[in-house]
């Protein structure tokens, strides 16, 4: 229940024109002030809860996107910002473009727009909070279950 109150984000620009990335940063400025929801731009995958990706994914950025995603501790959500991140946009047919971010990692919220407006980005992130909360409950259940299994294994000395 506290995940909703303090989601920390990391943003990564896969291969966009940087327009959406600028809008993500703009939503952290005094005018929009994302911090009033407790949202901080962490810039560190190990501290982040929400992964905000802009731009379509290509063969060289796909490894980076997956790496950042894997380094984030559970529970986590992914928000694809901008039309390139959601589907590839006008670059969809390009020979070097794989498509949207969902070709590489599972995406939870799609925020279309070229460039996506800060209002819609904030809306998308706030929508992601619900999913984060749900994911947190699932994660807790999973953790309890895995601890139970571990205890069981230890009881029968099966862990080695």
């Amino acid at each position: 229940m506290f995940l909703r109150k303090s989601p920390w984000i990391i943003h990564y620009d896969a291969t966009s024109c940087n327009g959406c990335d600028i809008e993500v940063v703009a939503s952290l400025t005094p005018l929009y002030d994302l911090e009033r929801f407790g949202i901080i731009n962490m810039g560190n995958p190990k501290h982040a809860d929400i992964f905000v990706v802009t731009g379509s994914v290509n063969p060289s950025s796909s490894a980076v996107v997956r790496n950042i995603y894997d380094q984030m501790p559970n529970p986590k959500v992914v928000v694809a910002v901008g039309i390139c991140a959601t589907s590839g946009g006008i670059f969809r047919e390009c020979y070097n473009v794989l498509g949207g971010i969902d070709k590489v990692i599972p995406v939870d919220v799609y925020v279309p727009g070229c460039a996506a407006r800060p209002e819609s980005i904030i809306d998308g992130i706030v929508k992601a909070l619900d999913i984060l909360e749900q994911r947190s409950r699932e994660f807790k259940k999973l953790r309890v279950e895995s601890q139970r299994q571990e205890k069981k294994l230890r009881r029968y000395r099966l862990n080695d």
């Binding site: 506290f2 995940l3 109150k5 303090s6 005094p30 002030d33 911090e35 009033r36 929801f37 407790g38 901080i40 731009n41 962490m42 810039g43 560190n44 190990k46 501290h47 809860d49 380094q71 501790p73 559970n74 529970p75 947190s136 994660f139 807790k140």
Partner: protein, 295 residues
């Protein structure tokens, strides 16, 4: 009798320690929340709720633990334990010198935690943390020496009950302490080692590799530390507890203003400026005091 006087005169040592261990993180977290709110207002933003630091820490307890090697958490736990130990020594009225050495030990474990992982950002943060420790430690020891010269004792409870205002004897030491307080509270211009605002050069500095519960422990450890540092400010004004509390709050506000009006220093400037201030205000004050009170 104010609550602080009541606390100082409390005879039950266990109760005293329990009060500190329970109340210090609550107070520290609340101060951090007020800090964030005021900073936001100074920047023309609305800012997070006052209880935001508590939400952050409680959230971190719900997150998955990612541990890259087993020494990492060991060092952080030692940092946390020694930080509580340091604060307890201080608030139980122990020896001020011992408090300072235990504080340094906690700092060393914190830097070791940074060195125990492989991330270059962690190493950079830990190196800067060590440089910061080198910068502020002489001044903090001078605080203890100055208080000893005036009151004739290192014991915190005796210093807190000293009836004359220490600030009148130690104005230079106090100014020097304010300078290193900015480093200890990890405020701009000295937020070199692990500032969240420096993420383009440092990622998260020292705490880059720490996540979940461990990161929460680092945060709570710093709340304990901040309360201890404000406690040292109180000693300068302990002749009157109302004045002491007012001074603590005022100086914390001053630190927030400094934080919001200064750009980050490079480590060389941090080191040099701190030692110059230490010599100019701290050491000079001690020397003058020594000749003034010599029989």
């Amino acid at each position: 009798m104010t609550p602080i006087d009541y606390y100082i005169h409390l005879d039950n040592i266990h109760l005293k320690a329990a009060i500190y261990i329970v109340l210090a993180p609550l107070l520290g977290g609340l101060l951090a929340g007020i800090d964030r709110k005021l900073s936001a207002r100074m920047q023309g933003r609305i800012g997070p709720p006052i209880l935001q630091p508590f939400y952050d820490v409680l959230k971190l307890f719900q997150k998955e633990k990612i541990i890259v090697n087993k020494f990492q958490n060991f060092n952080v736990i030692l940092f946390f334990v020694f930080m509580i130990f340091t604060g307890s020594l201080f608030f139980l009225g122990g020896d001020l010198l011992l408090v300072i050495f235990a504080l340094t030990l906690a700092g060393v474990f914190f830097a070791l935690a940074g060195f125990s992982v492989n991330s270059p950002y962690c190493h950079l943060g830990a190196e800067r943390e060590l440089i910061q420790m080198m910068s502020y430690d002489p001044m903090i020891i001078l605080v203890a020496v100055g208080m000893y010269l005036v009151t004739g004792t290192f014991r915190v409870d005796a210093i807190a009950l000293y009836d004359k205002p220490l600030i009148l004897f130690l104005p230079g030491v106090f100014l020097g302490y304010l300078h290193v307080l900015t480093i200890k509270l990890r405020k701009s211009p000295f937020d070199l080692s692990m500032s969240a605002h420096a993420h383009q050069e440092l990622v998260s500095g020292l705490k880059t590799e720490f996540s979940g519960t461990t990161l929460a422990m680092i945060e709570i450890g710093h709340w304990y530390e901040n309360v201890l540092l404000l406690g040292i400010i109180y000693l300068f004004f302990s002749f009157n507890s109302a004045v002491g509390v007012a001074a603590m709050l005022l100086l914390y506000f001053l630190e927030i203003v400094i934080d919001n009006t200064n750009a980050r220093f490079k480590w060389e400037l941090t080191f040099k400026s701190t030692w110059v201030v230490t010599a100019l205000f701290g050491a000079a004050n001690i020397i003058i005091l020594y000749f003034a009170i010599r029989p």
